[in-house]
């Protein structure tokens, strides 16, 4: 069970504009399958920056990232997109649902892009994910017709559609009230415990972090 799925090796990053500032210094850590990890730290300590590097969206760094044992250095943009599509699920602070599509279609989009299953199967799987999150009744509504908490749950369902290796969250409860935060946390917990899903969640909510399996605390671009 202690299979390493995500590993950061000597990751450093600099911002060059307007002056060169080192935002991440020699980050080394790894995440095993089924880990529920939270990253905490003060605003500006580089935790979001680290998340975007780990997620392959930011490629301007030194060191190396291994996802599922594969190096992310020297991969082309199309290949990185494929990795994000297949192995990483995202939940952001803001839900980023596409208002042109129904809730169901929003969940289906990454699955259709992956092309591993037929459209019918993807639809069936999307329904199942929505069911896990308890919002299957909203499936055919447009995103702007459901509540904020529900939107975030749709975003989680979208992150789950391709059965990713890891779910990454950037302040996923940051925009939610207490009750909805609780629901989202419970979902994450359930995913980790019941479905053995790995999660890496950036948060500044210490209460949230304390209840996760493992806390990575950051300060001034370093892991404490």
């Amino acid at each position: 069970m202690d299979q390493i799925i995500l590993e950061a090796k000597a990751v450093s990053k600099y911002f060059h504009d307007p002056v060169t500032v080192q935002v991440l210094t020699d980050i080394n850590f790894s995440i095993n399958r089924g880990d529920f990890v939270s990253v905490i730290g003060k605003s500006g300590c580089g935790k979001s920056t680290l998340l975007y590097i780990l997620s392959t969206m930011d490629t301007d760094y030194t060191g190396d990232i291994l996802i599922d044992g594969e190096s992310m250095r020297n991969k082309r943009e199309v290949e990185l997109a494929r990795v994000r599509n297949e192995k990483i699920g995202f939940v952001f602070q803001f839900h980023y649902l596409l208002n042109e599509f129904s809730v169901l279609k929003n969940v289906m989009l990454p699955g259709l892009k992956l092309g591993k299953y037929s459209e019918k199967e993807v639809e069936h799987r999307a329904y199942e994910k929505l069911k896990i999150l308890g919002i299957e009744s909203e499936a055919l509504k447009k995103p702007n017709q459901v509540s904020g908490g529900q939107k975030q749950r749709v975003a989680i369902a979208r992150a789950l559609i391709n059965d990713p290796l890891i779910i990454m969250g950037d302040e996923p409860t940051g925009n939610l009230d207490k009750k909805n935060s609780e629901i989202v946390f419970d979902i994450f917990k359930e995913l980790a415990d019941v479905y053995n899903q790995s999660l890496l969640i950036v948060t500044h909510d210490n209460e949230f972090a304390l209840r996760t399996d493992r806390i990575i605390e950051m300060e001034d671009g370093r892991i404490l």
Partner: protein, 419 residues
């Protein structure tokens, strides 16, 4: 699967901004409509004006010309060949206008694969006698059937039946202007005098109207037999051989060839009527420029709308990229939007362009100069539609190219962190 997915995303984005999409497509539609209509109309007009000349003029005309001989006898002499010979007061010699051995020439021409038809002709000066007054003019003796087949003779015969010229012995078809001067009605007998003083009575069987006043006021047509009789010549006498080619562009070369071969004067239509070709090509050029300008303006419209759409959809693009769509996919989505606008607008434009052309084709256009034309001329050449279709796709593709590239380069991190 991937293509279908991208198409469905393009479609949804299009439908989400339906109004803008329609405005952009209407721009393309309008420009394609105008492009097709303008070219059809202009080209129709060109064909009409060219037809005035080209349809009733031989592509190559073979004839004898009275002119001074290029070679004087002294030049042919062996003895004086290397001398400088000065011959003064050279005059043209009396030479018959008849084409010698024309039967054999025509038989030979009929075997030439490049030729679509030939028609013999006699041109002769006459006086039309009206009471005490003589009007000068020209009678064209023609092979009625060949003339009609090659030069659409019946189109210009506005009254009477052209074939009567062949069926009625000693008959004539007068130019409209000439007939008015002579007060000659159809069925009347008129008298003509040849240059040599022969007189003959001819029956008027019709009027023709060529659209060129000078011709209508002086010329008339008779059959070849009648003209030969009038001139007192034998049945082999003809003065011109008119040749119509399958490919008109070959005329200058073939004319030169025949000039050598038959030792006759040969003039091609391009040399005889060079001004028409120039006019046509300039008019065509102007229509194309206007049409393409319209399309480019429509292209800028699409460019603007796509740019706006990309700014509005920045979030959507970012999340698509975050969840695994590559820059190329995003590029294709927006190119897809541009091409959809181009194709829909283009197709509608072609249909409306055809409709507008048909409408113009119904507008009455009567002019004394052009008896066969009743409505504005339109050329329904499919080429204009093909060019319009290709251009609508090409311009919209380029209009979509830069905004799409911009969209594909959007960095999702910046958008997502910016919130």
């Amino acid at each position: 699967m991937n293509v279908r997915l991208l198409v469905s995303i393009s479609g949804s984005l299009l439908l989400a901004r339906l109004k803008q999409t329609i405005v952009a497509a209407v721009g393309v539609t309008f420009s394609i409509t105008m492009f097709v209509t303008l070219l059809s109309f202009m080209s129709g007009l060109n064909d009409l004006l060219d037809g005035l000349i080209i349809n009733r003029t031989a592509h190559i005309r073979l004839y004898n010309e009275i002119k001074p001989s290029d070679l004087q006898p002294v030049n042919l002499s062996e003895t004086y060949r290397s001398y400088h010979n000065f011959v003064s007061s050279v005059k043209p010699k009396k030479e018959r206008l008849q084409i010698y051995n024309n039967g054999a020439i025509m038989d030979f021409l009929r075997t030439d694969k490049r030729i679509s038809g030939i028609a013999p002709k006699i041109t002769t000066q006459v006086f039309y006698n009206v009471g005490a007054i003589d009007l000068t003019g020209v009678i064209n003796g023609i092979d009625v059937e060949a003339e009609n087949r090659l030069f659409l003779f019946q189109d210009y015969v506005t009254e009477g039946n052209y074939i009567d010229l062949k069926n009625t012995p000693s008959s004539i078809i007068l130019g409209k202007g000439l007939a008015e001067k002579m007060l000659a009605d159809i069925g009347d007998i008129i008298q003509v005098t040849t240059a040599k003083g022969e007189r003959m009575q001819l029956k008027v069987v019709g009027y023709f109207q060529s659209g060129l006043q000078d011709i209508d006021n002086a010329q008339s047509y008779a059959s070849i037999n009648t003209t030969q009789k009038l001139l007192g010549e034998s049945g082999t006498y003809i003065t011109d051989i008119q040749i119509k080619l399958k490919d008109i562009t070959l005329a200058p070369d073939i004319a030169k060839e025949y000039q050598k071969l038959f030792d006759l004067e040969a003039i091609d239509i391009q040399t005889a009527n060079s001004q028409f070709e120039t006019g046509s090509s300039v008019r065509t050029l102007i229509s194309y420029s206007v049409g393409i300008t319209l399309l480019i303006v429509a292209g800028f419209g699409i460019y603007n709308i796509l740019n706006m759409m990309i700014y509005e959809k920045m979030d959507s693009i970012a999340i698509l990229k975050a969840t695994g769509f590559s820059g190329r996919d995003v590029n294709r989505i927006f190119i897809g939007i541009a091409l959809t606008i181009g194709v829909l607008g283009g197709i509608l434009g072609l249909i409306l362009g055809f409709g507008l052309s048909v409408a113009i084709d119904q507008i009455p256009f009567n002019t004394a100069a052009l008896p066969t034309i009743k409505t504005y001329p339109i050329n329904y050449n499919p080429r204009f539609y093909v060019i319009g279709a290709v251009f609508s796709i090409v311009t919209t593709y380029f209009a979509g190219f830069f905004p799409s590239r911009k969209a594909s380069k959007i960095d999702p991190v910046i958008i997502i962190r910016g919130k």
